[in-house]
């Protein structure tokens, strides 16, 4: 009985708090500046040598912040979940097929190194959400987990995100165990 009441309380908290919170996320994301890491040279720059080449990375291979560079032969996917009161007591597992990649609680993140190509990541409680991605070797991708209101418990979601969003909240994130 206590568990049922607790679940109802969580669902109610989600229903009154999730939408405005997510709207704040969207507004914040719109104002985020573009990431400022190294970039290949512009394609339209005339070249005077025999090859147009990307500019070398300015940061070398030293890890930046919480996320280091992806291995040359793998892609890495950073799954993170903002620290929020709504649905904060609910954790959810991120899976690919039957394989559990990690668990996301409020204010957590984890990094999965995966083979290049197409992947489908899944989270579920009483409802299921899939995220399909295609990833390249040597690249880092960001996926944000959120909770929206459900009938009895919150519904977890996975959505593609970006480095700027992750960096903006990285000081409040802890690595999942």
């Amino acid at each position: 009985m206590k568990r049922t009441l607790a679940a109802l309380a969580v669902a109610f908290a989600c229903s009154v708090a999730t939408s405005p919170t997510m709207a704040q996320d969207a507004a914040a994301a719109q104002t985020q500046p573009a990431p400022a890491t190294a970039q290949p040279a512009p394609a339209t720059t005339p070249t005077t040598t025999s090859a147009a080449t990307p500019a070398p990375a300015a940061t070398g291979t030293a890890p930046e912040g919480l996320v280091g560079p992806a291995p040359a032969d793998k892609a890495q996917v950073v799954f993170f979940r903002p620290s929020k009161f709504a649905g904060g007591a609910i954790g959810f597992k991120v899976r690919e097929g039957e394989q559990e990649l990690g668990k996301l609680r409020s204010g957590n993140y984890f990094i999965a190194q995966v083979t290049p190509g197409k992947h489908t990541y899944t989270v579920h409680s009483e409802a299921k959400d899939d995220l399909n991605m295609e990833v390249d070797a040597g690249e880092t991708y960001y996926v944000q987990g959120t909770i929206s209101m459900g009938f009895m418990v919150g519904h977890p979601h996975l959505a593609p995100s970006d480095k700027a969003t992750f960096d903006g909240m990285s000081s409040k994130l802890d690595k999942s165990n």
């Binding site: 999730t18 939408s19 997510m22 996320d25 969207a26 914040a28 994301a29 719109q30 985020q32 573009a34 990431p35 400022a36 890491t37 190294a38 970039q39 290949p40 040279a41 512009p42 394609a43 339209t44 720059t45 005339p46 070249t47 005077t48 040598t49 025999s50 090859a51 147009a52 080449t53 990307p54 197409k118 959400d129 995220l131 399909n132 991605m133 295609e134 990833v135 390249d136 690249e139 880092t140 991708y141 960001y142 944000q144 959120t146 929206s148 209101m149 459900g150 519904h155 979601h157 959505a159 593609p160 995100s161 970006d162 480095k163 700027a164 969003t165």
Partner: protein
């Protein structure tokens, strides 16, 4: 490689969408049309002219659901078609034209609240207008024989 110049793998190619893309109408597996949005130059000559057709593929497309579930739209770059020649692109399609600023970590994959593309989320669907600038990287070194390089028209 005497007599041959090449665009190096990883070079950002500026692209733009030909039509509006919406999670309400696109399905995974659909092909989407793009074009090269600025001349790509090599040895002071245009090797891939602006307007050259390019293609992408829809990887994920979901309309938003009840309870605030976000809409999703993920599109991967595929190829540039230069006459009879097909030039491979890495799958990552990035926001912006890739020139001047690094946006390489903002993939063209849009959820509820995603970077510069959050502005394209209308209601529960994701809509990306026609002409939206983006970029993709060359998948491999792409040679051009010197004799094949067309002269760049002078203004």
């Amino acid at each position: 490689m005497p007599g041959q110049s090449f665009l190096a793998a990883g070079l950002a190619i500026p692209l733009a969408s030909n039509t509006e893309w919406s999670s309400a109408t696109l399905k995974p597996g659909d092909a989407v049309a793009m074009h090269v949005s600025e001349d790509v130059m090599l040895d002071e000559r245009v090797v891939i002219p602006s307007g050259t057709p390019a293609t992408g593929e829809v990887i994920d497309s979901q309309s938003g659901g009840a309870g605030g579930a976000p809409g999703k739209l993920s599109i991967s770059a595929r190829t540039i078609r230069l006459g009879d020649r097909v030039i491979a692109l890495r799958s990552r399609l990035s926001a912006g034209n890739g020139v001047g600023k690094d946006r390489s970590n903002t993939a063209l994959a849009v959820g509820f609240a995603v970077g510069v593309f959050a502005m394209f989320v209308h209601g529960s669907d994701v809509t990306i207008p026609s002409g939206t600038p983006m970029s993709a990287k060359l998948a491999q070194d792409t040679p051009f024989a010197s004799a094949d390089l067309p002269a760049t028209p002078q203004p």
